[in-house]
Symmetry: C3
Subunit: 266 residues, 3 copies
């Protein structure tokens, strides 16, 4: 038996037994698996949000980790179950785009459809996380070759996380995620932002058609009481308020567009 | 030392150190134990709800799993601590009915009272989860025979999950559980429902004295905007709304009664 | 490789991938580590609350457990990262007082600053939990001697949990914690309370300038509908309401002062 890390991400929440059912199935197949919950609080059916979190989390996992991603509003339909092998990791879950951004960053080597009934449980129809994806991930962690599970797929559901548009006069970005502190994680890469700002540390943020001045901070402690822009642990620029939720204060949601300009332009 | 799966269920929530205290005690006795949280968000003192979740979750666990169930409003009183051995699993917790429905489904082999001080910690009086049930579960996982912990009990607190009443003209059921998505899990078994419906796919649901038409769906994707009845991963019929909480929409709580009739009857 | 228990406490919540990133880093270094979540729902930046929970939880962990405590509003500033070795455990986290009460109870043997870049990852600047504390805890769990990580510190940020003042006519205490049930955990030790009460079982509780009569109970079941004082599993006296939240009912917050007098005095 092999020690292998399996990261789990879903929208199952923590009031139900669903996550435990997946883990029990995995341990039943590979008691040496090392299970790590990423989060089970993705918004219900939030494929886009789940894709972002999986993409972020997987960066910190060691090579050859396996990911079980189950944000799956199409469960019970004809949507396929897939295995995606990237240069670094293996991802198991529904063919709805959820697994793709994380796998694409590392480089996709192959995508396979899960069809071999030998490695899955009797299907209930509404819980492929337990019946299909958990046993497949567990068998992979024991070294079953990916060819065993099903044929290669050349067509699968694509997904790209949106890229920030950096022009000289402004950066146009999107809020990719709101964390538990209420920090707004944008899609503006720290490096691109630093190149663009040319030493400026005050900016105009346009959001919901309203502009406000924000200050660049390098740590949470350094922020004053005003909204700050700060390089985040995600590798992206984040918008934060000290000890308060920027998301609540600004009324922002995931997916909203922001415009950022250098304040000295005006 | 032995690898054994221990499933944990409680109403301790996740803001406190209580669950970690139980796990630390278990690992101190058996570092090879495989711990799986079922949920710690059973409503405070919700023995009935906890019994349902334990009953559901335990189906997916491999044979010889051990369960630690601590929904225990009677802690500190004379209520006993018990070990219940079923055909498949071993359950440890308070003698208040919590463990019984899960154990009864598999067939109860024996029930023992926990009395041997050798296997428990000094009692604080209000935290038998840590002081009694966790160490007992851990010692069981290391192979200590059940006779060691105390004498057999012939009388213990019974509990039955309510059974649906299936008559030709209607099915009378109860909402056993509301999941994190707001789906209503009934006590109507899928198989009995399918026999009863005789090909019908539209039904009248009576709830709170009000009737509404509902449609049978076979997957969440297949549902329209209306309330649907759908075979659930629990083995029971569930009531669902697409991407919304049926529980909130209908104002339903666990324990409420529903009546279901075939729409073509009317 | 060595089996070692690592207890994790943070204010990261459970909607983000942050906790999983720390765990993935740990397993990457020591796949035999036994990870136990204490809680990740400390209030954002709540060093005092985190210190209390770490202090409580660590009592139940076996000797030689390692604790990773990350409530770290100063991340990204010059605040140091430290390792605290006590008579029983090893604590890793920021130098802001968080780790001190737990370590002091057992007796502090040494405090070291974390400086050796060999044992830490490239820093993002805002996530030392992943980049510094997780790898250090993991290397300690594999047996790397503490001297390896950095020089001893003679000055570090102190913290003491407040002590109750016991006079004959009254006990003055503080609410240290509110648990998930809404029970109020005070800083009045059970033993000191029992010596002080001299057989009395009715008391006057003064809170927010208002007095109310409360009854001593020895278990939750024994309580009536009124507010009770009860010896808690924490080793302290707690204030509880049966099946309701005492915190909500009284409008109490962590840190508030209470006065307790024997009712027969009046």
């Amino acid at each position: 038996m092999v020690e292998a890390i399996i990261g789990l991400l879903s929208d199952f929440g923590d009031r139900d037994y669903y996550v435990s059912a997946m883990k029990a199935v995995i341990y039943g197949i590979n008691p040496r698996a090392l299970l790590v919950d990423i989060t089970h609080k993705v918004s219900s059916g939030g494929i886009y949000e789940g894709a972002f979190l999986l993409w972020q989390a997987s960066r910190s996992f060691p090579r050859n980790s396996i990911f079980l991603g189950v944000v799956d509003p199409g469960v019970g339909t004809e949507r396929k179950g897939i295995i995606v092998e990237s240069e670094r990791h293996i991802f198991v879950g529904p063919d709805n785009g959820l697994l793709i951004p994380a796998a694409k960053r590392d480089g996709i080597l192959q995508v396979r459809e899960i069809v071999n009934e030998k490695y899955i449980l009797e299907r209930s129809g509404t819980f492929d996380g337990r019946d299909v994806f958990a046993p497949v991930a567990a068998h992979i962690s024991r070294g079953v070759p990916l060819e065993e599970f099903g044929p290669p797929l050349t067509t699968y559901t694509e997904m790209d996380l949106p890229k920030a548009e950096v022009k000289d006069e402004e950066v146009k970005g999107v809020i990719l995620h709101i964390d538990d502190f209420g920090n707004l994680v944008s899609n503006i890469p720290i490096k691109e932002f630093n190149d663009w700002r040319r030493g400026e540390d005050r900016f105009l943020l346009e959001l919901h058609g309203r502009e406000r001045v924000i200050i660049l901070a390098s740590s949470y402690e350094e922020m004053g009481r005003e909204l700050a822009i700060i390089p985040g642990s995600s590798g992206f620029m984040e918008f934060s308020l000290r000890r308060r939720s920027a998301a609540e204060d600004l009324g922002v949601r995931v997916g909203e567009t922001i415009h950022l300009r250098r304040a000295s332009h005006f």
